[in-house]
């Protein structure tokens, strides 16, 4: 049984990779199996974790669960055309509550701490940091300020303001370049993982 699983997994892995050549029936089959099984998996997981685990077994003891249950039920009213509009209410609740929940977190981490950590000396007689650190401080201060200028939407990017915004976009692009290389390397690990499966687990060529 274990071997059969390995062969099926290898067959589907190669089927997905066959897309690199072109769209073909093997890919379509693998794609359909992948989508169908993963969608089914999520349905089963959510059913057993939430409905069965929390309401059937747990009897919905936490009263907050019932708030979620009611909202979920209201969502299902979409299936009844005449009162389908009620499903907008839980949607509005989710969107509004999420915005409120995240607002202070984003505000704290993306604004307050960013500003605080940007306040660093560029040089100084009593400042004992190395030249490397000082260059780093200058890059952070200039990069953050000019980046903010770029994302300031209430003024046209012209003159000195435009020049500063251009410095900002240069900083952003250099950052993206570094990020690109770093992320490509992490993507390679995904490829290595699948190759390891094919050559080690399936074919046994790598011990």
């Amino acid at each position: 049984m274990e071997h059969l699983g390995l062969w099926v997994a290898a067959f589907l892995t190669l089927g997905i990779y066959s897309f690199l050549y072109r769209d073909n029936p093997w890919y379509k089959l693998s794609e359909a199996i992948f989508i169908g099984i993963s969608a089914g998996y999520w349905v089963v997981t959510l059913f057993w974790d939430n409905f069965y685990g929390k309401f059937w077994v747990g009897h919905g003891e936490d009263p907050w669960l019932w708030v979620g249950a009611v909202l979920g039920f209201l969502m299902l009213l979409r299936l009844v055309p005449k009162i389908g509009w009620i499903s907008r209410w839980p949607l509005s609740f989710i969107v509004g509550a999420t915005a409120g929940l995240w607002m202070m977190n984003y505000f704290s981490s993306n604004i307050m701490l960013q500003v605080k950590d940007t306040i660093m000396p560029l040089f100084g007689s009593g400042y004992t940091a190395s030249a490397y650190d000082i260059v780093g401080n200058i890059v952070v201060a200039v990069g953050t300020f000019s980046g903010l200028v770029y994302f300031f939407f209430s003024k046209e990017h012209k003159g000195a303001f435009g020049a500063t915004a251009k410095v900002g976009i240069w900083f952003i692009m250099i950052t993206f370049g570094a990020s690109f290389g770093y992320t490509v390397m992490s993507r390679m690990s995904l490829l290595i993982g699948r190759m390891d499966f094919l050559f080690s687990d399936w074919l046994g060529l790598i011990k």
């Binding site: 989508i35 409120g100 929940l101 995240w102 505000f107 000396p121 003024k155």
Partner: protein, 420 residues
């Protein structure tokens, strides 16, 4: 319903939910619901159970500042026999008595320890602590602390500056929203990429090929998904006018519902409700790469003339963008995920970088609510820019010439912008 234009009922619920979310957020982040400081005093004393080792002294129990009343901080001076070299103390055993019951051991600590946070207390219960220094064959018990009872406090004054700045920005948002509602035109600079939307839709119409809209892979609880769907509202309005075809495969059921509502509202606004179909938006799977396989398949089979990738993306960003590129589609992408933006910049024709994605929805919709919000946020950025310039100037001058009031200014700014 579109995300941009809510009818009255959902709007009221949205605002109420926003308020609830803010309160919950504040409570969990400590803005509200914290505790009153209380102190259980203890005087130095010695209660030696088995002679041979000195006890820890000055044991003090203090209620942890600004929490939900569920932790107590303990401090003490280690035993004089607790020395790094040749010390007699092998461990400290911390005991707690709950509501005058018999004391039980709650922690064993290594020599050298002089503080401990008890996070297993219940608000309003009474607790008494003592600590025993343990040596080889001997132990010494400290005096008990006075009874201490942790309480929940409603305000966390550590967050007062966060609250104040949030209040200023919120006031600015409300001011600009009201200004826009009165009909005053608010200036927003042009955003490259948005100008191309009409051209991209027109291109698809001329080529007789569909438009593919991908709202990312996160749910409706992510602000990028909301921004993507807001832009979808505007795009589908143009599509309805041009009588072009749109297809939006999604990976979340709630996003499917919201996307359908958004497109439906746009078609109704364009006077073409009959042209709308629920098949324009279909759910694929929640599984990240299963979704990618499905969308890639759609791209190579339907060969869309235009692909919009607007929302939250992860490892699938480059796969999707490259496939779209390979079928010759014009691609407009946008996300606030810094790690994925380089891929979109490399593989797409236009990219909305970070906050441009959020600004785009305001720019396109022209609605007072969104325009005012964007202008209000600009006030926040202006404050940040001024503080950065002032702070960097002050700390540099302070360090270079040791100017006292510059140091004070930096401390003041750091205090304001630190979030505990």
């Amino acid at each position: 319903m579109s995300i941009g234009k809510l009818s009255t009922g959902p709007t009221v619920l949205f605002l109420a939910s926003l308020l609830i979310g803010l309160i919950i957020s504040s409570m969990t982040s400590g803005l509200l619901a914290q505790s009153v400081i209380g102190t259980g005093d203890a005087t130095d004393s010695v209660l030696v159970e088995v002679p041979g080792v000195a006890p820890a002294t000055s044991l003090v129990a203090e209620e942890h500042k600004y929490d939900n009343g569920n932790s107590i901080d303990l401090y003490w001076v280690p035993s004089i026999d607790d020395q790094p070299e040749g010390g007699l103390v092998r461990a400290y055993h911390l005991y707690r008595s709950d509501n005058e019951a018999e004391a039980t051991k709650i922690a064993e600590l290594l020599p050298g320890a002089n503080q401990y946070r008890d996070e297993t207390v219940t608000p309003d219960n009474k607790y008494v602590y003592h600590i025993i220094a343990i040596s080889d064959g001997a132990s010494a018990k400290s005096i008990k602390t006075a009874p201490i009872s942790p309480h929940r406090e409603w305000l966390n004054y550590d967050k007062k500056y966060l609250f104040l700045i949030a209040l200023i920005i919120s006031a600015a948002v409300i001011f600009f929203v009201e200004t826009a509602k009165r009909g005053k035109k608010l200036f927003i600079r042009k955003i490259a990429g948005l100008e191309a939307i009409d051209d991209a839709v027109g291109r698809a119409t001329e080529m007789g090929r569909p438009i593919l809209f991908i709202p990312g892979i996160l749910d409706m609880d992510d602000v990028q998904t909301l921004a993507g769907l807001t832009i979808l509202g505007r795009i589908s309005r143009v599509i309805a006018d041009y009588d072009c075809k749109i297809y939006a495969p999604v990976s979340r059921s709630l996003v499917m519902t919201a996307a359908r509502e958004t497109i439906k509202a746009s078609y109704q606004a364009a006077g073409r409700p009959d042209a709308y179909s629920d098949d324009m938006v279909t759910y694929m799977t929640d599984e990240q790469f299963g979704y990618v396989a499905a969308v890639d398949g759609v791209m190579v089979r339907e060969r869309p003339a235009t692909v919009f990738l607007l929302g939250a993306f992860f490892a699938e960003s480059l796969i999707l963008a490259e496939t779209g590129n390979s079928v010759g589609a014009i691609q407009i992408a946008g996300t606030a995920r810094p790690a994925q933006l380089p891929f979109f910049i490399a593989a797409c024709d236009f990219t909305l970088i970070g906050e441009e994605l959020f600004a785009a929805s305001a720019y396109l919709s022209g609605e007072p609510m969104q325009l005012g919000s964007l202008k209000g946020q600009d006030i926040g950025k202006a404050i940040a820019m001024v503080v950065i310039v002032a702070g960097v100037f002050a700390i540099t001058i302070g360090e270079a010439w040791d100017v006292g009031f510059m140091h004070d200014l930096v401390r003041w700014l750091s205090d304001i912008f630190s979030t505990k």
